[in-house]
C-alpha cells in the first residue's frame, strides 16, 4: 500500500497551463522529492495528488485506484502544509486528534493514537499547549503529528521546513528521514532547496516549467545530469558552463577546445558521432576544479574568496573571456583577490551538453557524494 502513479497529468488555471503532462511511478515506501525553482508547479502537482486541485487531464492512481474524482480523505493521503495550518484555537492534543474526531473514532482508541503520535514526535509535554505557544519546530511537529495519526499510505509535504532556521532545518531533515524509516510509508516531499532533495530523497524529480526535467537518485542527478538545467540546479556552488567547439569524437569520447584554446577529451557516449566544429557547452563543477593541475588549464582572476575552513570557494573571472568561473578548493587554498590563480580541469570530471542543452551520457560509476559539499 502506498503505490502511486501519474499518467500524463495536466493542470491549467484558465488558459495558463501550469503542469504540462507529467508521468511518474512511485513505489511503496519510497521517499520522493519534487524539486525545482519557485513557480515551476511543485505545489500544484502535490495538491493535485492531495485532491485540493482539480486534475485538468490525465490520471492519478493510488494503490491501483484512479483517484481523480475522490475527496482528499478518501485517497489515503495526508498532507503537511508549508504554513503548518494548525487550528489555532485547539490544543496540540486536539490538533493531532482532529482527523480522528472527524472519523468519530472511539475515545480510548483515539487517545492511544494521539499518544503514540506525540511520543514519536516528542510532543508529550506540549499536548495542552496552543499552537501560539510553540516554537516553529514544535508547530511543524504538530502538523506532522496530525498527518501520521491517520496512518495514511502516502504522506505529502509541501516545503515543510522552509520557515525554520538553518540549524533546525538540518535537525528536522534527519528526523523526517528517521520518521520515514519508522513509518514504512510513501513520502512525497516538495522543496525548492536542492540540499533537502539531495539529503533526504531516494529519488528526486526535478521539475522545470511544469514538466519533469529528470528523475533519478541523488547521485545520478549529481554525476549524470540529463541536461543543463538539472546540471545547474543540483550542486552548490553551481556548475560552471563555458562554450566549447568540437574538435573530434569517437564512440566513447569527445575532444573539445575551450575558449582559451586549451584542449580536453571528455569521456562521454557519442554514438552518432559529433561533427567537427559543432558548438557545445562544457560543464565543470567547482569542486572538480584543480589548483595548478589538470589536462586543460584555466587562468583566472579571483574577485571574491570565501574561506570556510574545510574548503575555499573562489569566485573569479577567466582571463581571456572575463566569464565568471567558480572553484572550490580543499582546505585553505593559496589564493587572493586580484592575484592570478592557475586552475585546471580533467576531462573525466567534465559534462558536455549539445546545443539543445541535452547532456551526452557520461561514462562514470556512481560514487558517494562528499556530504560537506552540500551543506549550506
Amino acid at each position: 500500500m502506498g503505490q502511486l502513479s501519474m499518467r500524463d497529468v495536466r493542470k491549467s488555471f484558465g488558459t495558463a497551463e501550469v503542469i504540462k503532462g507529467v508521468s511518474l511511478d512511485i513505489n511503496h515506501g519510497e521517499f520522493v522529492v519534487f524539486v525545482g525553482p519557485s513557480g515551476c508547479g511543485k505545489s500544484t502537482l502535490l495538491r493535485m495528488i492531495a485532491g485540493l486541485e482539480e486534475i485538468t487531464a490525465g490520471d492519478v492512481t493510488i494503490d491501483g485506484k484512479v483517484v481523480n474524482d475522490l475527496a482528499p480523505v478518501k485517497r489515503g493521503i495526508s498532507m503537511v502544509f508549508q504554513s503548518y495550518a494548525l487550528y489555532p484555537h485547539m490544543s496540540v492534543y486536539e490538533n493531532i486528534a482532529f482527523p480522528l474526531r472527524v472519523e468519530k473514532i472511539e475515545k480510548d482508541a483515539l487517545d492511544a493514537k494521539v499518544k503514540r503520535a506525540s511520543a514519536i514526535l516528542k510532543l508529550d509535554e506540549r499536548l495542552k499547549h496552543k499552537p501560539g505557544q510553540l516554537s516553529g519546530g514544535q508547530r511543524q511537529r504538530v502538523a506532522i503529528g496530525r498527518a501520521i495519526v491517520r496512518d495514511p499510505s502516502v504522506f505529502l509535504f509541501d516545503e515543510p521546513l522552509s520557515n525554520l532556521d538553518a540549524a533546525l532545518r538540518a535537525e528536522m531533515r534527519v528526523e523526517l528521514s528517521k520518521l520515514h524509516g519508522e513509518l514504512d510509508a510513501t513520502m512525497i516531499y516538495v522543496t525548492h532547496d536542492q540540499v533537502e532533495a539531495m539529503t533526504m530523497a531516494d529519488r528526486i524529480v526535478v521539475l522545470d516549467g511544469g514538466v519533469i526535467s529528470q528523475v533519478g537518485s541523488p547521485l545520478e542527478l549529481y554525476h549524470k545530469p540529463a541536461n543543463i538545467f538539472v546540471a545547474g540546479f543540483i550542486g552548490n556552488p553551481k556548475m560552471n558552463f563555458m562554450p566549447v567547439t568540437c574538435l573530434s569524437s569517437t564512440e566513447k569520447s569527445i575532444t573539445v577546445s575551450l575558449p582559451n584554446n586549451a584542449e580536453v577529451t571528455v569521456p562521454v557516449v557519442a554514438s552518432g558521432g559529433v561533427v567537427k566544429g559543432t558548438e557545445l557547452t562544457l560543464g565543470i563543477r567547482p569542486e572538480h576544479v584543480l589548483p595548478h593541475a589538470g589536462e586543460a588549464r584555466v587562468e583566472t582572476k579571483p574577485t571574491v574568496v570565501e574561506r570556510l575552513g574545510i574548503h575555499t570557494v573562489i569566485y573569479a573571472t577567466q582571463e581571456d573571456t572575463d566569464a565568471p568561473f567558480v572553484s572550490l578548493l580543499p582546505g585553505a587554498a593559496p589564493v587572493a583577490v586580484g592575484k592570478a590563480a592557475h586552475l585546471g580541469l580533467n576531462g573525466a570530471d567534465c559534462h558536455l551538453f549539445d546545443t539543445d542543452g541535452a547532456a551526452f551520457e557520461r561514462d562514470v560509476a556512481l560514487s558517494d557524494v562528499d556530504p560537506s559539499l552540500l551543506t549550506q
Partner: protein, 280 residues
C-alpha cells in the same frame, strides 16, 4: 514590541486622541450634568455647569412621570438583541460565501450592498409601511425587527467578509484533507477562528440596531406598550414644558445596555487569537 514612533509622534497621537475623546464624550457629560440639576435652574443666565442643588432625584422621579419607561427600555433591548441575532444568522454564512466562493455576480452584489448603505432608511418608510400593512404586521415587534435586520445585514457582510478573507485558506484545506466537510469545517474551525471578527460585527450590529429604532417604532407602531425607548422619551415633552433633567436621566439609563453588551462582548475580541495558525 519595538517603539514604532518617536516621542513627538506620540505627543501628536495622544493630543489627537484626547481631542477626539473630548468631542465624543462632551454630549454625555453635559447630559449627565443636566440630569442632576433641578428643572428651574437649567436655563439660568449666565449658564452654569455646576450648581449646589445637584441630586439624583430625576433618576427616581422619571419612572413616575413616564410609567411605561421600563417597558420601553426592555422593548428597545429586546428588539436590538433580536435584530442582532437574526442579522448574524444571515451575515455569517453570507460573509463566508462572499469571502470564499467564486460565483457569478459576486462583486456586483457586493456593490449593491454597499449602495444600500447610502440610501437613508427614511426613503423606504412609506413602501415599508405598505408592506407591513399588507402583511398585517403593523403594531407588532416584528414590524420593528424585520426592517431593522434588513438594514444591518449589508454592512455586517462587508465587515465580516474582510475579516474572513484574512483567515488562511490552508486552514480549510487542512480540515478538508483531514476529512471534515464544509459545515463541520465552518463550525469547528472557521467560526472559532473568526470569533473576534464576529464579535466586532455583533457589537456594531447591536449598536446600529439600538440606534435605528426611532423611525420604525414611530411609523409602524401605535401600541404604547410596544414602543421603544427613543419614542418613549417623547413623553417627557409635556404640554407646557420639557422635563429635560428626567429625559436626560432616562437617556443615560437607556444607553446602559449598549455599554453592558460592549463590555461583555469585547473580551472575545482578543487580538492574536490566530497566532500560531500559520507562519508569518
Amino acid at each position: 514590541m519595538i517603539d514604532r514612533y518617536s516621542w513627538w509622534e506620540y505627543v501628536l497621537i495622544y493630543v489627537g486622541l484626547a481631542l477626539f475623546l473630548i468631542f465624543a464624550l462632551a454630549p454625555f457629560f453635559e447630559a449627565f450634568l443636566v440630569s442632576l440639576r433641578p428643572l428651574d435652574g437649567l436655563f439660568s443666565i449666565p449658564y452654569r455647569f455646576f450648581t449646589d442643588d445637584m441630586s439624583f432625584d430625576a433618576y427616581i422621579s422619571m419612572w413616575k412621570s413616564v410609567p411605561l419607561l421600563w417597558r420601553y427600555m426592555l422593548n428597545s433591548f429586546g428588539v436590538a438583541v433580536a435584530v442582532t441575532l437574526f442579522g448574524l444568522m444571515a451575515i455569517v454564512p453570507a460573509a463566508y460565501a462572499f469571502a470564499r466562493f467564486e460565483f457569478k455576480g459576486r462583486d456586483a452584489l457586493l456593490g449593491v450592498f454597499l449602495a444600500v448603505n447610502m440610501v437613508s432608511g427614511a426613503v423606504l418608510i412609506i413602501p415599508l409601511y405598505k408592506v407591513m400593512q399588507g402583511l398585517g404586521l403593523l403594531n407588532t415587534y416584528f414590524a420593528m425587527i424585520a426592517p431593522g435586520t434588513a438594514f444591518v445585514i449589508p454592512t455586517g457582510i462587508w465587515l465580516l467578509r474582510s475579516y474572513l478573507m484574512k483567515i488562511p485558506r490552508e486552514l480549510e484545506e487542512a480540515a478538508l484533507v483531514d476529512g471534515a466537510g464544509r459545515v463541520y469545517t465552518l463550525v469547528r474551525v472557521i467560526l472559532p477562528v473568526a470569533m473576534p471578527g464576529i464579535m466586532v460585527v455583533a457589537i456594531a450590529t447591536f449598536i446600529a440596531a439600538y440606534a435605528q429604532q426611532f423611525l420604525y417604532a414611530l411609523t409602524f407602531n401605535s401600541v404604547n406598550e410596544l414602543n421603544t425607548l427613543p419614542v418613549g422619551l417623547f413623553q417627557f415633552f409635556g404640554r407646557q414644558n420639557v422635563v429635560w433633567n428626567e429625559m436626560m436621566a432616562a437617556s443615560l439609563v437607556g444607553i446602559l445596555p449598549v455599554m453592558i453588551v460592549y463590555v461583555f462582548l469585547q473580551k472575545y475580541i482578543v487580538a492574536g487569537l490566530t497566532a500560531g495558525a500559520v507562519k508569518e
